[in-house]
Structure formats: C-alpha cells, structure tokens
C-alpha cells in the first residue's frame, strides 16, 4: 500500500490498514456473530413467546413477559395494572451494588496499577502475575473462604477483637458490605490489568514538565496523569461494572440470598422453580439494552474526542 501520508481529520487511523480493516474485524464477527449473537437473537425471540409450563417456550406470540416486568396486576393477576416496582427496584439495587464495587475497585486498583507500572521493567510482570495468582483458584472457593474469614466467629473478627479495635464481633456476613467486598474481590484484576496497560505507557517527561511549572504531585495526578490513563480506567470500569450487574455468587453466598439481584432473578427463571423462560429472556434483554446504551454512550464520546 503506497499511502503513507497521514489522513487529516478523524481517527487515529493512518490509512495504513485501509482496505484491510474489513478482514481484521471479520474473525470477531464470525466467532461472536455465529456462536453468541445468534443464540442471543434466539433469546430475544423467546422473550416474545408464551411460556411453557415448567420451562421451555411455546411458539405463540405474547407480550406477557414484558407485561410482567412493568405492570403489577396483583397477586391473582386480576387487579387493575399499576407500575410494577419490584423488578425496577431489583435493577436499581443491582446497579448500585455494581457501581459501588466498581468504585471500590478503582480506589484500590488504580494505585496498585500505578505502583506496578512504576516498578523496574523486569519486575512488572512478576507483580502482575502476583495479582492474578489468586485467580487460578476457583471463584467459588475464594468466595466461600472470604465468607469463612468475615463471619462472626471468623479470623477477621478475632483479629480485630485481639487488637482491641472493637468490643464485639462486627456483623459482616449477610450484609451489603459483605456483598461489596465479595464483588470487589471477584473483579479486582479486571480493573488493575487494563489500568496498568494504560499507565505503563505514560511518559514521565510530562510529569517533569508539570513539575517545572510548579505543579504538586496530586495536581499532576489529577490534571495530567488521569487523562492519559483514562482509557485504561474506563476499560477497567466496564470490565468490573458489567459482570457485577449480573453476578449472583457474591450476593447469594455473602449476602444471604434474601433478596433477588438481577443475576439471581434471571437464574431463577431458567434454573429454578419458576421455569419462566420468556420472562428470564425479557429481563436479560432489558439488562442488555441498558448496558448496551451505556457502552454506546461511551463509544460515541470516544469517537467525538478523536474527531478533534
């Protein structure tokens, strides 16, 4: 390809790969398109079908699944429809949980990633691998161990009691805080690794320049470093937020399973007693729509930035 002149205007694309882009993106379309997109479209169709008793679907069009989500017709289904707040509350609750977990991961994950990125180059891999070593052990085991750690009679409480920090065991298990900890614990490397990938690229000449202009450490962090590492932070946030939304392990095991989260609600429809596949599909589609809107919002801001 002869084109070596940078194209003026939008995108970081240099025209180097002009004409190849289609081929490069093809594998993704083939693999995900066939093995996931088709099944998901199938689920979308399912959400508009009638539920078969005890699981499965009957090929008859019905809006019952979506109706059930949005409208409350009373316990016996014969009262006048009012807005059904149950599921909206479940969504809201899960969004909060996921948001807090993401924040927690950010607060702890960003410094960690920065720290690793500023180590001697040959040590960085070691640090990164150290972060991921615990994740070779199955998530369920780690969550159950965490449960063991924080229960009333567990080592954490014993340690705090021994330190004299508290007088009585802190009741952590079956609380929201426990769920937060569980989610944070499950998804931490999903924040650290992308932030690291971005941070490692940071050019310290910028910091030097800022210092020459009398900027303090924290100002530099806020005004120079963070914008540069932004792509990593956003990537990490997506990777923590979205799975947390659909998580059910941490909420169930650490939170006592007393309330439905989106994940457990959907699971109940497919694996549980309810056997209401169209409803499960409908809830998933609604979740998918919300998440997709958030992601596309992000994608739009990206393209607009690059079009500068």
């Amino acid at each position: 390809m002869a084109g070596g002149i940078a194209d003026a205007g939008a995108g970081t694309g240099a025209g180097i790969y002009r004409g190849r882009a289609g081929w490069l993106i093809l594998p993704s379309w083939l693999v995900i398109g066939f093995f996931l997109l088709l099944p998901v479209i199938m689920m979308l169709v399912y959400s508009f079908l009638t539920k078969e008793f005890r699981g499965g679907v009957i090929w008859e069009f019905s809006l019952a699944a979506y109706d059930r989500f949005f409208f409350d017709r009373g316990l016996f289904g014969d009262e006048a429809p009012v807005i059904e707040w149950t599921y909206i509350t479940i969504f809201w609750r899960s969004l909060w949980q996921a948001g807090l977990a993401t924040l927690l991961c950010l607060v702890i994950g960003f410094p960690t990633a920065w720290f690793i990125a500023t180590r001697v180059p040959r040590h960085r891999t070691v640090w990164l691998l150290l972060i991921t070593v615990p994740y070779w052990v199955n998530l369920l085991i780690r969550t159950v161990s965490m449960k063991f750690l924080i229960r009333d009679s567990g080592p954490l409480n014993e340690f705090l009691l021994w330190l004299g920090v508290i007088a009585e065991p802190v009741h952590l298990i079956n609380t929201n805080l426990a769920v937060q900890l569980g989610l944070f614990y499950s998804y931490l490397p999903f924040m650290v690794l992308p932030v690291y990938a971005s941070a490692e690229r940071y050019n310290f000449a910028l910091s030097e320049a800022a210092a020459d202009l009398y900027a303090g450490r924290w100002t530099t962090l806020r005004l120079i470093i963070l914008p540069v590492v932004r792509p990593g932070i956003i990537a990490g946030s997506i990777l923590v937020f979205v799975p947390s939304l659909g998580a059910f392990l941490a909420p169930d095991l650490l939170g006592g399973a007393k309330t439905f989260m989106i994940g457990s609600l959907i699971e109940e429809q497919f694996k549980g007693n309810a056997g209401n596949w169209p409803f499960g599909a409908a809830v998933s589609m609604i979740l998918l729509t919300i998440v997709m809107m958030l992601l596309l919002l992000y994608a739009r801001t990206q393209t607009r930035r690059e079009a500068r």
């Binding site: 002009r18 691998l129 369920l140 614990y185 599909a281």
Partner: protein
C-alpha cells in the same frame, strides 16, 4: 527524575500508593491463606486444627477421585490456554481494525458485538448456547466448551488491548510507512512491540476468566467431561472439602511457579547493558 528548587523528587511516587498496593495484595491472598493452612489440617474441619498432615494431598493424587480431578485439571488448563490464545489473537486483530482503520464501517456495531459476551448475563449465555448448539447439531463435548470459552474471553482480552492502543500514536507507524515498510511490517515491528503490555494483560485476563468459568461450562459441556470448576462445584457449595483445599493450594503453587519462571526468563533475556539502560529510562 525531576528537579524543583534544587530538591530531587521522584515523580513516580505517590504517598499512600504503596500501602494501598500492599493492602490490595493482603486482601487478595488472605482468604487463600486460610485454604492453604487448613489443607494441611489432620481432620476435615475448617475451624479446628488437629495437627499437620499430608493426607488430603495423598487423597488428591492417589485417592478414589484422583483420575477425575486430574483429567478435570488438564481440561481446565488446556482449554484456558487455547481459549486465551484464540481470544487474544481475535482481539488484537479487532483492536487494530477498530482503532487504526479510518473507514471501518459499522464501527459502533462492531464495538457492541465485541462486548456482547460481556454484557449478556452468564445464565442466559449458558442456556441459549446449549439450546443453540443442540439445535444445530453441535455435539456437546470438549469442543463446545472451547468454543464457548473463546467467545466470552474476547471482550476481556479486547478491552485492555484497546486501552493500550489508544495511548499509542500512529506517528511511528506512519514514519515506518514513509520508509517503505509494508503494513504487515509496520504492525509486526512497530505496533506489536508497543502493544505487548496490553496484549499480556488481555491474555492474562482471558486466561483466568476461562479457568474460572462454571455456569456456561456446566451447561454446554458433554456428559462425562469435567473442568475443574464443574468437578469441584458441589464440593465447595456445601462447605469446602479438605481435598479441594489441597487442590487449590496445588494450583496456587503451579501459578507461583509460573511467576518465578517468568521472572527468571526475563532476567536471562536481558543483556546487562540494556538492563541498566532500561532501568534508567523510567
């Protein structure tokens, strides 16, 4: 190193970041410490210590269920390696297309597609995949697991790689093009080395995601095929059994082994001179 009014400040350091990192590591390893310590416990309780014993390790290697666990562990590791590799390759190619090609059509749609596996709740992917695979006659077995894993690993590999690529300006590649490099050469010699930390991060993420997956694997796997999560799932939900603790400790040792190997490999691959230069370049 920067200078301000004669004082030398290390611009990389932020107070409080080291303690936070250490806190992070402590929080990550603490639950595992419990598992490791009690895997040497003489009885099966997780609360009473009754003496040091290797009996659970004996059970893992020579007990009744040893062949099952060994095969499961092998399956898990091979699937994770294969899935992470394929997913990373696909992700790299997608990232180059999305971030370097100007006139890619349907860019937003592609972005949504690449992240689709991340957005769909696991149970839905699991059930939908099972139904779909049965419908198209894709017999459940090892391959169904592998395919499903590759699919959901892609976004996990893609996002760190894309994040990394966004910080790399294409000026170097343009310079290469001006020097008559082909696109393939520009990619291989300029972009790829710069992207390596992102690729490495993506690969690691994809690997641990695949190793850990239970729900999707459970639904799409063939009868009789186990991966480690599916083989031990029941054992853990009811309270971790001691032989599972032994398996976990072994896995930890294997992964620490990898860490050590990579550290040694990095030391060997470095010329002492370039090492000093590299260290200075911070």
């Amino acid at each position: 190193m920067g200078k301000t009014s004669g004082k030398i400040i290390d611009l990389r350091r932020f107070p409080g970041f080291l303690p936070l990192t250490l806190l992070c590591l402590v929080m990550l390893y603490a639950p595992l410490l419990v598992v490791m310590v009690y895997s040497f416990n003489d009885n099966s309780s997780i609360t009473l210590w009754s003496g040091f014993s290797l009996r659970w390790y004996d059970d893992v290697f020579f007990g009744l269920e040893a062949p099952k666990f060994k095969q499961a562990a092998l399956n898990s590791l091979t699937i994770a390696f294969a899935a992470a590799t394929c997913a990373t390759a696909i992700a790299v190619s997608a990232a180059v297309a999305m971030l370097r090609a100007r006139n890619l059509r349907g860019r937003t749609a592609s972005f949504a597609l690449i992240n689709l596996p991340l957005m769909v709740p696991e149970i839905v992917t699991a059930v939908a995949s099972l139904i779909f695979f049965s419908a198209i006659g894709f017999t459940a077995g090892y391959l169904t697991i592998l395919v499903a894993h590759i699919v959901f690993c892609i976004p996990f590999a893609y996002l760190p790689i894309a994040a990394r690529m966004q910080s790399i300006e294409d000026t170097c590649e343009q310079a290469a093009m001006d020097l008559y490099a082909t696109p393939a050469e520009a990619f291989r010699l300029i972009l790829l080395p710069l992207m390596l930390p992102g690729i490495f991060s993506g690969y690691l993420l994809a690997f641990i995601i695949s190793l850990d997956d239970f729900l999707i694997t459970n639904f799409v796997k063939g009868a009789g095929i186990e991966t480690l999560p599916t083989a031990i799932f029941g054992s853990v939900k009811q309270g971790i059994k001691p032989n599972i603790m032994a398996i976990s400790t072994l896995l930890l040792l294997v992964s620490v082994g990898f860490v050590t190997l990579s550290y040694l490999a990095s030391r060997m691959g470095q010329n002492p001179k370039t090492q000093i230069n590299n260290d200075k370049k911070l």
